[in-house]
Symmetry: C2
């Protein structure tokens, strides 16, 4: 494959001049420039990105660390996100280096990427409430943006969906419909988003002066737990008239379990959820959900990261996207006969 030296030789010039001609420096004769460019085209010359990186000490590449898929239902979200991210990076001349992390420690994969100087910046995703990767990156001084928040001091750049505001909207919607006993089903509390979403539930109840019953609140729910859990919930003397599930597949499980217990949605039980995925939209009935554009989120994240990469000492940027509630047929006023 042709190198700059080949082009220079063929054009009868020095490598330096060839380089400058190709990079449109203004201290090269017009005739020379054209000759060099013609030769380059003829030789199908393209600069070697590796050599460029080594010399310029930047790679025009950003890293993306996403979690390994634990549940198929998480899929839709991430790919839309990646699509938006990749498009924005491409438009700004950057490539994307992909890492899927198994763990949330400072894994070997992360070390490789960071210390190998393979990337100019990094987008870390799936942030935990306490996430050692943040401190690690801060110490290493690699430009990075977190997609998600930890609990505690937020002294790092991040982009996140405002789960608190989102869930709050959903719960307030249920309260406005007349519900008072609203169950909450969430994922493991170690996830940052779990923490913030649950906060929204609490705040909405407090805001409405509604009681908060611990028996209605369940964290760390897995799909297979739902039948038993719902059976318990629905058999209780004071059964809930609505359920908020923090993930789409949980909500689907809730609907199924309710049906199994002979209940209609939303007549006997209202159901709302967080991610507005295809699954949620195609469900029967279509579910009321907290929604944001995942592709948009990817674009936004890429923008933030690239700004950070290109502007060395920019002020800390922390952005919270407030999602919107989409009310559909899975929520309605509580049944008259219900407690």
């Amino acid at each position: 494959m042709a190198t700059l030296k080949d082009v220079a030789r063929q054009a009868g010039l020095s490598v330096t001049t060839a380089s400058r001609a190709l990079n449109n420096y203004d201290d090269v004769a017009a005739a020379t420039r054209e000759r060099v460019q013609a030769v380059a085209r003829a030789l199908d010359y393209h600069p070697n990105a590796t050599a460029r990186s080594l010399q310029g000490s930047h790679t025009s590449t950003v890293g993306l660390m996403i979690p390994r898929i634990r549940h198929r239902a998480h899929n839709a979200f991430w790919l839309e996100f990646i699509g938006g991210l990749a498009a924005t990076c491409a438009a700004r001349g950057f490539d994307v280096l992909l890492s899927t992390s198994e763990t949330h420690d400072v894994a070997p994969g992360l070390q490789r990427v960071v210390h190998g100087r393979r990337v100019d910046g990094l987008l870390v995703c799936d942030i935990r409430c306490h996430d050692p990767r943040i401190a690690y990156l801060q110490e290493r001084r690699l430009p990075f943006v977190a997609f998600g928040r930890t609990v505690g001091t937020l002294d790092f750049p991040y982009l996140d969906v405002d789960g608190t505001a989102g869930v709050r909207q959903a719960i307030e919607h249920l309260i406005a419909l007349g519900h008072r006993r609203i169950a909450y089903l969430g994922l493991e509390m170690e996830f940052g988003f779990s923490h913030f979403r649950y906060l929204g539930y609490r705040k909405a109840l407090e805001g409405a002066g509604a009681p908060c019953d611990a028996t209605l609140i369940h964290h760390g729910v897995a799909e297979e737990d739902i039948p038993a859990l719902m059976a318990g919930l629905l058999a209780a003397a004071q059964r809930p008239t609505a359920v908020f599930a923090s993930a789409d597949y949980l909500a689907l499980g809730v609907v199924k379990a309710a049906r199994g217990a002979g209940m209609r949605v939303p007549d006997d039980l209202s159901v709302a959820t967080f991610d507005d995925t295809l699954l949620v939209q195609h469900a029967d009935p279509p579910l009321t959900a907290v929604s944001q554009s995942n592709q948009r989120l990817g674009e936004e994240a890429a923008g933030l990261l690239l700004d950070r990469v290109m502007g060395p000492a920019l002020p800390l940027v922390q952005r919270l996207i407030v999602p919107a509630l989409v009310a559909r047929q899975s929520t309605g006023p509580p049944h008259a006969a219900a407690p």
Copy 2:
């Protein structure tokens, strides 16, 4: 950040010796090796991947070109695929450079990746019936594997799902149930998979000696076309008793349209589809579908590519994965009253 030179200086040795100590060469004294490694640890030294690439002329990175998402329903497939691919690459010490291509010409993005020597190999996805990228890559001698097939001479390494065998199973299943008039709804014929899937439909009909009615066959169907298309199909004198849709979201549209026309699935109309996604599994009723493990596919593709990258002149490998039919509640015998 610490470089090899720093380590060498700190250890009072030459860069050469430090390098060999760190790379476990056997011509370095045990004591020296340990001293160097201790210093490296103390300095938090990690080799610079870029410099390594330049010197060794290989990057330990493979490229992945996937299409830009046109329809949200394609999402689930690709992310599972990427997950499998990334895991296999990581296990074998490779990183993944992601490119999403807008077009199927030899786009600038492809040229950048190929000529910039950013990758040791490339996985090209979303192959068209006639795809100029194949010839381009062959000429450039970059190790690559296609995920998908073109029509015509297949003189390149590929991995593909055997769409012909898959669809054939589905149609034969319908025929076995007693169906004779089976409609076919497919995507644009320029996609390689469209071509092969349709072939399966034809073969199954021929094999059963069933008639092939052109009015039942529709290519290039978009989601929004379905209501009108189905209305026409169901109003016909000789209406179909079953529909095969080549993509999950098309099948969902078919079910919806059938319902709209007052038909029950599968009593009045059977529906089968290709991709066994979450959407298909959670549909009402759950759909009969041709299925394969998308993650498995990604792992397989990565394996093929890495073998090719590491073994320079391996014989051409072409692998076809035969999917399996999963019969669910959307297919049944044709209604007695139907023609």
